[in-house]
């Protein structure tokens, strides 16, 4: 394709999740140069942590793989991992950005052979699995991680063993002395696609997350059901490893509530229906109960709700539970009042999953370092730079891709205007 555009017409995409990947490949395949900056060691973002997508119950890896292939085949896309944008100056058509490249301690020469991990004796809680298991201090997050270069934890890099591990690398790719560096880039447009993080469930005190072992969150549950998760996909309760066959999902846990997140995160109803299917598929004799306020299966997702409703093993209670307690057997007991019947309930479960909502990274740990940025009261990015996917609003994968493709168009407008 014509490389008509000059270096200054580069589009900067911040965030390598499904939105950022989409903006990057769509703009690049239209002929524009893209610099993709991701703060984690691998691309894929939040969707890479998901076990399956609703409503097709298919693996996110399938679509990611195609996008990775498109990146591999496209020399117009440069990507940086473990990198963060630390400063933005200028304006549309002519931004100067500073990017901090944090040390991976492993160079791109890494072949992914895993010799280093075999030598490494240090284990750390696995951030990819929300700390539910231990992993080596030098590793690859999962078998499908892209790029496949290993990465080393910064604390471990300081140890003597790290030097020993470095010597074990046949490709000479490990550099425990690697330092952070900052680079400057001129870009025509910036698309902020930093996505979301799960709302901190510990803040929802009445539900006892963090206090009761068998109260978990939807994102943790996603890892629990995944073959690369802490239990290799076995749905068991954290306290005693017992099969979790009586599972409750509490919708709007910390959402649509002024004490926590006032907005609706759009995906949680559908995510719980999907997760109910994980339980039902794994244990045919299981029981799932979903506590909800409104069931928000927007537009075509309605058929997924209907399909879920057809499953007699799933019960629905319209209610926002008041609190969770724990009985003598480690069972969380959900307590509240059924809005439709007025009946009070206190129901014990093997496991309770809190369907927590999305907090935009741009509100907490990926703030836009730009004086002209505009954000709404919840921290979603609404102006100053372009924003795609869940950096702009809480939304699902299909709408994120829609938004990200649109932002590729808007970014191209900025590049064209610059000329």
């Amino acid at each position: 394709m014509a490389d008509a555009n000059a270096a200054g017409q580069t589009i900067l995409v911040v965030g390598g999740g499904i939105s950022g990947l989409t903006t990057a490949v769509e703009a690049a395949e239209t002929g524009y140069h893209v610099l993709l900056v991701e703060k984690d060691p691998h691309l894929g973002g939040r969707v890479a942590q998901h076990n399956k997508y609703f409503p097709k119950l298919c693996s996110p890896t399938c679509g990611l793989e195609i996008n990775y292939q498109r990146i591999k085949n496209n020399p117009r896309i440069r990507y940086l991992t473990l990198a963060e944008v630390v400063d933005i100056q200028g304006g549309e058509g002519n931004y100067t950005v500073r990017i901090q490249k944090n040390p991976r301690f492993v160079t791109e020469a890494c072949t992914g052979c895993g010799e280093c991990s075999a030598v490494c004796t240090a284990e750390v809680p696995d951030p990819f699995n929300f700390g539910m298991n231990q992993v080596k201090a030098i590793r690859n997050n999962h078998a499908m991680a892209f790029p496949c270069w290993y990465h080393m934890d910064p604390d471990y890099a300081k140890t003597e063993e790290a030097q020993k591990v470095a010597k074990a690398c046949p490709a000479g790719a490990i550099q425990p002395d690697m330092q952070a560096e900052t680079v400057e880039e001129q870009v025509a447009a910036i698309v902020w696609a930093t996505g979301w993080k799960p709302y901190d469930a510990e803040k929802i005190r009445p539900y006892g997350f963090g206090q009761y072992a068998n109260v978990t969150t939807n994102m943790r549950f996603e890892r629990l059901a995944n073959i690369y998760g802490p239990t290799s996909g076995k749905i068991v309760r954290p306290s005693d490893g017992k099969e979790a066959k009586n599972v409750a999902f509490i919708q709007c846990a910390g959402s649509r509530d002024h004490n926590y997140l006032p907005f609706c995160s759009r995906i949680c109803c559908l995510a719980s229906m999907k997760q109910a299917a994980y339980v039902r598929d794994q244990y045919p004799d299981s029981q799932v109960t979903i506590f909800y306020i409104d069931l928000r299966a927007m537009d075509r997702y309605e058929s997924f709700l209907q399909k879920t409703r057809d499953d007699q093993g799933i019960s629905w209670i319209k209610s926002k539970p008041a609190r969770i307690e724990e009985d003598g057997n480690g069972n969380p007991v959900v307590i509240g009042e059924n809005t439709l019947t007025g009946e009070r309930y206190a129901m014990p479960f093997d496991l309770v999953v809190l369907a927590t909502g999305m907090e935009p990274h741009s509100a907490v740990d990926a703030k836009v370092p730009y004086s002209e940025v505009r954000q709404d009261e919840y921290g979603f990015v609404t102006g100053g730079v372009l924003s795609a996917g869940c950096a702009a609003m809480p939304t699902d994968v299909a709408s994120s891709v829609q938004s990200a493709t649109a932002m590729a168009m808007k970014a191209i407008h900025a590049a064209v205007k610059r000329g």
Partner: protein
């Protein structure tokens, strides 16, 4: 004239390859057996030195086609990206070394591993020998202009964005004005644009003016497209209005024809449409609000008490099985009109099943509640007209589980959106009750062998083919659907959707102008061609192409439209005469590869199982098996296919005649929730396979020797078991008697 092929084979000995394999023997396969003129090895081929070694040979002209025998083609793509046309990767590491459990000193296992590596190297050598340099398909008089059908919000937004990107757009609008349904809209919902609590002013006038004053946008009003022939880059249109016909060439198309509201006369009787003039649709109400006074239709008296019935036909299997997405918010907006007009005298009731105000629109819901709108979770059980005007609505309240009668001046039915994308496709379910079934023509009237319309998929019949990961994809290349024509959506989403579809449209014209494929094989230069003298006019290729890329000439021979093609190669697999091929992918190539695999004699008791694996999902899954170091049988040989749709039954016969004991096919999930990136590939392969028993019968072989399995990309944990079960099953049969023939 094509340059003579000079092949270089580069074997990496890193990552344990050199330790595990007999390099000398491996090199001998390439040089002596396969006659590759230049064979080199390197201890770390992907390192700077290794890459430089290859580059030097390329620069010096010693080679112009490269085999890299190292790791999976999915690794080190950047390092092994050379500016050459012919290149292949042989996977000695991930799918050989890492997949075999070889204990130190186990000579049999070591021998098996060596045999596997040698076979994979043979496959790579044969493949590159059979590959030709693709000569990209280029239009002589291509166009980069984009047709936008529909001049409503989606169409105007798409055209404006196309123009701003530097391309020309052509809008064809069937009515005499631009603006579409927005012209009747009073105020707009905030839809994720702050402030989220406030309605906004209707901006359609400004957008229409911008588009009308844009000299890169050509507008045809009162016009329809009566004919679309050709392919991306050279779609030839016939645009007609009452008095004239115009012919025009464009490069790609955005269908932005919007929605019809569900026909209220088809609604269930309990909603009361037709019982009183005071039962109206939300569209009628909106128009009235825009005109000024909100009044009863029956007698023109002020309508201060208004009820809104949400889900009027939506989420109902008998009517629209989906939710329309925007009606909750839209009805809240309309309730606020009443409240704003009549202040404290206003009473508004929203009768709902579930309130769906996603994202920041929760704030708009709060605003409606705070302004005094009353929300009742319940059904409309019946409606009766009142003698003195207005209607009495019987409401079954879900919360107090009681029936109550609500006397209101107006009952507004929030009817749902129905896509206007054609229903002419015989496979598409007709949108019940919209009256569109009688539509005489399609929107584009495509002159395609497979029909004039965009195929619609899934239960509710939306025109997109991969709506989660790739929502803009349709089954007609270069044609994208935007806005509520694609799926129900509100104003902000429509504008976003239109911008995205516009991007895809200009991306398509750029791809075509450079002779490369669009998604999913973005950048692929190859395309199908056929040997006319071999054609029997059986039409399987034209019927099976998932993207409608092939027409027929008047003799019934296929007419390929390369720019419509996604290069999935389903046509190649469909052709019983084996005459369809790509420069770098053909039936003959895979046949030659099969024949090159070394089959041990029967008495060696080393069976051979051939696996055809879809390169999109099954191959990565197999790579993961390797990465996890899960062991599989050393008797299998894997040949990746572009798509299971390219499966030719000849290959099964070839494998059986060669002496393979079994053949396994690994394709993507098919059916309603298909995962095939080419929509139909794996489904068609399965249909073809149902006929394989004839082949096996002819060879007097058991039908259980061939098996197809669905493989998900995350099946790395179960795949080794799937493979070993099949190997075991095959081991229970006698060895294939054709070994050694």
């Amino acid at each position: 004239m094509e340059q003579q092929k000079k092949i270089g084979c580069y074997i990496c000995t890193g990552c344990g390859i050199g330790d595990a394999l007999d390099l000398k023997a491996l090199k001998a396969i390439a040089t002596k057996e396969q006659k590759i003129p230049l064979v080199k090895d390197h201890a770390l081929l992907c390192g700077a030195e290794g890459v430089a070694m290859i580059q030097k040979d390329l620069d010096e002209g010693a080679v112009n086609a490269v085999i890299v025998a190292a790791c999976s083609h999915r690794e080190k793509a950047a390092e092994f990206r050379f500016d050459i046309d012919l290149m292949d990767r042989v996977d000695l590491r991930d799918k050989c070394l890492w997949m075999l459990d070889v204990k130190e000193g186990d000579e049999t296992a070591e021998e098996d591993r060596q045999m596997m590596a040698e076979d994979y190297l043979r496959l790579g050598c044969v493949k590159i020998k059979k590959m030709n340099v693709p000569d990209p398909f280029l239009h002589s008089e291509g166009s980069k202009d984009v047709l936008v059908v529909g001049g409503g919000l989606a169409g105007l937004t798409a055209a404006r964005d196309i123009s701003r990107a530097g391309y020309n757009a052509v809008i064809v609008e069937k009515s005499d004005v631009l603006g579409g349904k927005m012209n009747n809209m009073f105020k707009v919902t905030p839809d994720n644009q702050p402030p989220y609590r406030e309605m906004g002013e209707n901006f359609i006038g400004a957008l229409v003016a911008e588009v009308e004053n844009d000299n890169r946008i050509k507008i045809f009003k009162n016009s329809i497209v009566t004919k679309t022939s050709g392919q991306p880059g050279s779609f030839d249109l016939v645009i007609k209005n009452a008095s004239s016909t115009k012919e025009l060439r464009v490069g790609s198309i955005v269908v932005a024809t919007g929605f019809d509201l569900y026909d209220p006369t088809k609604l269930p009787a309990n909603l009361g449409y037709g019982t009183s003039p005071d039962v109206i649709t939300s569209a009628d109400f909106e128009k009235m609000a825009k005109e000024g006074k909100i009044v009863r239709k029956s007698d023109g008296k002020e309508a201060k008490r208004v009820a809104f019935a949400l889900c009027a036909g939506q989420r109902d299997k008998e009517h629209l099985e989906y939710c329309s997405g925007a009606c909750c918010i839209y009805s809240m907006k309309q309730a606020m009109y009443v409240i704003d007009q009549y202040g404290d005298d206003a009473s508004t009731y929203l009768l709902y099943q579930e309130i769906r105000t996603p994202g920041q629109m929760e704030d708009f819901y709060r605003q409606a509640q705070e302004k005094g709108a009353v929300f009742i979770k319940g059904d409309v059980a019946g409606v009766a007209g009142n003698a003195k005007g207005g209607v009495s609505v019987k409401v079954h309240d879900h919360l107090i589980r009681n029936n109550e009668n609500l006397d209101v001046d107006l009952l507004v039915l929030a009817t749902g959106m129905v896509t206007t994308v054609d229903t002419l496709d015989p496979n598409a379910p007709s949108p019940v009750g919209t009256g569109r079934e009688e539509l005489p023509g399609s929107i584009l009237n495509l002159q395609y062998r497979q029909g004039p319309s965009l195929p619609r998929l899934g239960g509710a019949g939306f025109p997109d083919s991969h709506f989660i990961c790739f929502p803009y994809e349709t089954r007609r290349t270069g044609i994208y659907v935007a806005g509520p024509a694609r799926r129900p959506m509100g104003i902000a989403a429509t504008m976003t959707d239109a911008s995205g579809a516009a991007l895809k449209a200009i991306q398509a014209v750029e791809a075509v102008a450079h002779g490369v494929a669009v998604h999913p094989r973005s950048g692929d230069l190859s395309y199908p061609s056929y040997r006319p003298e071999g054609c029997t006019q059986c039409k399987r290729c034209t019927e099976e192409c998932p993207f409608g890329a092939i027409n027929e000439d008047d003799k019934g021979n296929p007419l390929f439209n390369p720019a419509r093609c996604r290069r999935c190669s389903t046509c190649m697999g469909a052709c019983p005469q084996k005459i369809i091929s790509f420069a770098n992918y053909s039936v003959d190539m895979i046949s030659a590869m099969i024949k090159e695999i070394d089959i041990p004699e029967e008495d060696e008791e080393k069976p051979r199982i051939l696996i055809f694996a879809c390169t999109n999902d099954a191959v990565p899954a197999l790579d993961m098996v390797g990465r996890n170091r899960s062991a599989i049988s050393p008797y299998v040989r894997i040949i990746p296919l572009r798509c299971m749709g390219s499966l030719s039954l000849v290959w099964i016969a070839d494998a059986m005649s060669k002496g393979f004991d079994g053949v396994m096919l690994m394709g993507c999930r098919h059916g309603d929730d298909y995962q095939c990136h080419n929509v139909r590939g794996s489904a068609l392969a399965e249909i073809r396979l149902s006929k394989v028993s004839e082949t096996l019968q002819r060879l007097k072989l058991e039908s259980s020797r061939v098996k197809m399995v669905e493989v998900n990309i995350m099946d790395a944990d179960t795949l080794p078991g799937v493979i070993s079960d099949f190997v075991e099953q095959i081991s229970n049969l006698n060895p294939n008697p054709y070994k050694g023939f």
